[in-house]
Symmetry: C2
Subunit: 197 residues, 2 copies
């Protein structure tokens, strides 16, 4: 690990390692706020870190509610809740979401989107060409049987979703009493405090 | 199952049964909105249903952020994301939260709070008398070693948290293509539609 990484990165790396036998240890629940000011919450797959800022990489379809809300400027705030079943610890990662679409003019973001597409499985990639998510179920089987997309040419619907982390709460349920740590950005520096669980 | 139950209840009952070997199959991630209009998201234990309205029972400490936000009328809206690892299915349950404190004047709610307290384990009950959640870590070990509370007399900090469900999205990741069902309350009746995943 690079010493310039935020101090909570090593705790998450350790949890990922210790829970590596569980596929769902890479699933996070992402809470956002929609245009009606109601929370939305869904499970997404952690796709790694965008360096050097330690942004969490997720992917989404531009036709999904979270992408639509971000494009409509509903609210960029989000909180990811990441529970590790084997070690019984939870990270709450609050921050700001950014959506990287095919139209992004940020070169490093576009490169990260391209790389994320290339790292998807074939079965993951094809879903971005399925019928519109959330619409009434398509009757036409062809809507779920499009041509297999090019592994190097992202679907126009494919978006990278970046979470820029501003605060982290790490709760360890093992321990008597439980340990809980709060990491906060203060004047650009990460401060850590031990808090009551 | 009673035929007057909402139609999504049987799907959740089946998921709970099929995932019963996993303790974390009873964990849900609850998203709420705080007074700064930012989402908060944390893991809570499903404590069963409040009948006959099929409200989801959760418990919380009156000193926790979610209780404080509800008491401050920040927003009663919430969405629980419930992922079942073994059967690979997700329920998103959106609705309205109600907090049942020691001061509740609703008799059936007070009885439900009392019953929820009695169903807690000793180690669960004692946490409601620990030092204030989220405050700087108490130096005094006594803050984590209070007298064991009475199993029949709820701590004054103990609250029942009820989620009145207004919409449910059920996604089955197994299946080619995946199945997804949306349940919505329309004029007091539950309507179900099959939608694209």
């Amino acid at each position: 690990m690079n010493s310039s990484l935020p101090p909570w990165r090593s705790s998450i790396a350790r949890a990922l390692h210790r829970n590596r036998s569980l596929p769902n240890a890479r699933y996070v629940q992402l809470a956002t706020i929609d245009s009606n000011l109601r929370p939305q919450n869904r499970t997404l797959v952690f796709r790694g870190w965008l360096e050097p800022e330690s942004k969490i990489k997720l992917v989404t379809d531009i036709r999904s509610s979270k992408a639509i809300n971000l494009l409509a400027d509903a609210s960029p705030w989000a909180e990811a809740c990441w529970y590790f079943p084997k070690t019984r610890e939870q990270f709450r990662l609050g921050g700001i979401l950014e959506l990287v679409t095919a139209a992004s003019s940020n070169t490093s973001y576009s490169q990260a989107r391209q790389a994320a597409w290339e790292q998807m499985s074939d079965s993951g990639r094809i879903q971005f060409d399925w019928g519109t998510p959330g619409a009434n179920r398509s009757d036409d089987p062809q809507d779920f049987n499009p041509p297999q997309p090019d592994a190097h040419q992202p679907s126009a619907n494919f978006c990278l979703l970046l979470l820029e982390v501003r605060s982290v709460t790490h709760l360890e349920l093992r321990g008597e009493p439980q340990n809980c740590y709060l990491y906060e950005l203060v004047d650009g520096e990460w401060m850590i405090r031990s808090i009551n669980p």
